[in-house]
């Protein structure tokens, strides 16, 4: 039984992209429609020109509809949530039977109740909950239990991780989509989606960090021991690199973007001291320029190293001494920058590779996989919500284990 196709919409700072796909029974994602358009009116993951942004969204949706030859009625919105952050919360539930005052076994009902309790996280007015992800259970003194059903104890606790974003940012994007007009069924955090598409169970256990470098934002998700440990987003990305180049060597933004993609590198190579890059003239007002490669790369290196260091400092602060045995996975457009992976390896001191979505058909090319990671992840996420709830404990466990109760 194939599920209904899901359309996901990502309104990025550089590209607005709509991807339609379905999840087959064997857990393979098939992409059946892609529409994308250059983004206007969005900066650093927030709207600054609504009219332009709406036009872009309409264009992208239209392109996807043409590509798929079927209309799209509702989408899932992928957002980086205006600098999303994560917060830990704990739910506590007594297990002692009040009547005969004895230790009792943990039942599925207890588990549901304690999760429900932990879900109720108090957030400031201006924050909105995006996901609540279940982590470990504790029964009395035994900690870090994955599945407590059947264990006996006095009290059951659960650790949850709440990913929350800026309310105004998320609501405005939802409103934008509603006005497009198209129904917006859910909003999901882009970093989490990217991670869902590219991380295997094994990597989650060993410890892996997924960094999604977009145009205006950089999202990260840290896994260890099979569970999500931290997530968040910074409002810096590839466009900052472009802007730095534009300011640093005094060339127009479009030229800066082109030279960044073609000749730029995140590593400064001492061998290319005398290598010059010629920047071609533009049709209007720019007469071409020669730039030393080492100048260009020094600018890019400074920014990229800062982006990686921001993430590193953040995870060091939240989860000190967390091993990254499975390395760092880079997704998003920013990860295609030359030398980005090598620089990541240098900063984190673990292997750093492109995160490519697996078990997926119909992407334009395998090489572009990291670009579509968060869309594939979002399609998987949507499918996990729509799946009829299986009564088998194993099925439930599976859902809770990987996408733990995230249907918030």
């Amino acid at each position: 039984m194939a599920l209904d196709a899901t359309a996901v919409l990502e309104i990025g700072s550089s590209t607005v992209r709509v991807v339609v796909g379905e999840v087959r029974d064997d857990d393979e994602v098939t992409i059946i429609g892609i529409g994308e358009t250059e983004s206007r009116g969005i900066r650093k993951g927030e709207i600054f020109n609504r009219d332009d942004a709406i036009k872009c969204v309409r264009q992208a949706i239209k392109a996807a509809e043409e590509n798929r030859r079927k209309s799209i009625h509702s989408v899932i919105l992928i957002t980086s949530g205006g600098q999303a952050q994560s917060k830990q919360s704990t739910g506590l539930h007594p297990l002692v039977d009040p009547i005969d005052n004895q230790l009792s076994e943990v039942t599925e009902q207890d588990v549901d109740e304690v999760i429900e309790l932990a879900r109720k996280v108090a957030l400031p007015e201006n924050r909105i909950k995006l996901h609540t992800l279940q982590r470990y259970f504790h029964v009395d003194d035994s900690v870090n239990i994955a599945d407590p059903v059947g264990l006996a104890g006095e009290e059951l606790r659960v650790d949850m991780l709440t990913v929350h974003g800026k309310r105004s940012a998320v609501d405005n994007f939802r409103k934008l989509v509603d006005d497009a007009p198209i129904a917006c069924s859910d909003a999901v955090f882009s970093g989490l989606c990217a991670a869902m598409a590219v991380v295997t169970v094994e990597q989650k256990k060993a410890g892996v960090l997924v960094i999604d470098i977009g145009g205006g934002t950089t999202d990260y998700v840290l896994y260890h021991d099979g569970f999500i440990q931290a997530a968040g987003s910074f409002a810096v990305g590839g466009e900052h690199v472009t802007n730095d180049i534009s300011v640093g060597v005094q060339i127009p933004l479009s030229q800066a973007e082109a030279v960044k993609c073609k000749d730029g590198s995140a590593l400064t190579n001492l061998m290319e001291r005398d290598h010059n890059i010629s920047i071609p003239a533009a049709s209007q007002g720019f007469s071409g320029k020669m730039v030393r490669a080492v100048t260009l790369n020094t600018i890019i290196n400074a920014r990229m190293e800062e982006i990686f260091t921001l993430v590193k400092d953040e995870i060091d602060r939240r989860c000190p001494n967390m091993p990254l045995s499975a390395g760092v996975l880079l997704t998003g457009g920013g990860s295609f920058l030359n030398g980005a992976r090598d620089l990541g390896q240098k900063v984190f001191n673990v292997p750093c590779i492109h995160g490519k979505p697996f078990k997926v058909h119909g992407l334009p090319s395998a090489k572009e996989g990291p670009l579509y990671a968060c869309h594939v992840g979002a399609i998987r996420y949507a499918a996990s919500l729509n799946k009829p709830v299986e009564k088998l404990p194993f099925g439930k466990k599976l859902i809770n284990f990987f996408w733990g109760g995230s249907n918030d």
């Binding site: 650093k44 802007n243 730095d244 020094t298 600018i299 400074a302």
Partner: protein
Amino acid sequence: MTERTAKTIRVPKILVMGVGSSGARAVAAMSALNPDIDAAAVDTDAAVLDALGMSNTIHVGATVTKSFSSGGDVELGRQSIEKDSSNIRKQLSSVNLLVIVVGLGGGTGSGAVPVITRIAREAGALVLTMAGIPFKFEGPKIARTADEALKRLRASSDAIIRIENERLVDRSEADLPAEQAFARSHQVMMDGIFSIGRLLTRRGVVGLDFACIHTMLRNCDGYCNFASAEGSGEERAKMVADALLEHRMLKRGRMLEGAAGVVIGLTGGRDLRLCEVDEVMSRLQEKLPDDVWFNFGVATDAAFEGRLSAIVLAAEQWKEPLVDQRQMGLHFGRNENPGQGELLLETTGKGEFSNLDPTIHNNEDLDVPTYIRRDIKLPR
């Protein structure tokens, strides 16, 4: 180069700028002797500028110091120049190479030069700074001021030539009058400007220009020490070589032994012989380490008939890595008066993000390019 090509090819424009009273005096003396070179003097003290008798003087900070000197206050020096930065910017708009002459340790020089170098950088000019470092007896306060100004300079200057006043005088010369000691500092600074001026403008048999110094310093990540010597008569080559090897500015040759890079410029008359060039060069070469970055130039000039003049620029590596401006700001704040700083209204380098909500993280605006915030010197 013939006259004709000189007209068709755009010759790089060089401006020598003296900043602060000592720098302005040195430049005034230079321009009196050699009016061909474009020169400008910048100071807060109107009286000093008036006494120079130069055509191109820039009086800065009239509203800040009321036309007096900055009185050794670096902060006043900085404010003065920031107030009148548009004036400086105008002066620098068409300049390709800016040579700044400054005596560090005072108020105007130490405060203004880092700002001027930054403005020059933004205007796209290369910057060569000749910085006089104060005598030891001027006290630790002035030494520290000079040291900090030098660190700031380093971030935005393409090449720095350090002239240590301390090395100018010999401890054995006990009866050297104080006035003469300071005059000697001026003399050396002037010598330096002359030689550099010659180096940059005269076309030699073997060419040497600013790019050579720049390349050397880029390769060595350091600053230059400067020494010059002159000789005349039959023995001139030997005299020059002896003088250089015994030169106080090069610590009697010890500087050469540890140098990371060396540039030697020789100037002589039309009677300059190859064996003389050979003698000077080979005697210096003996002292130099094997892996040194080496470049030399020979120029002839009719005015040098019967004479031989040599300058040596020896690169010395910075002892500490490039310092973060922010840390320095903290350091500065503790030692100097903790008065309220002035908010800079420029949104430097934010480019397309300048009208958006800033992204503040750990008190840094992430929209400003990283290399500006970290003060990373962009190689050109």
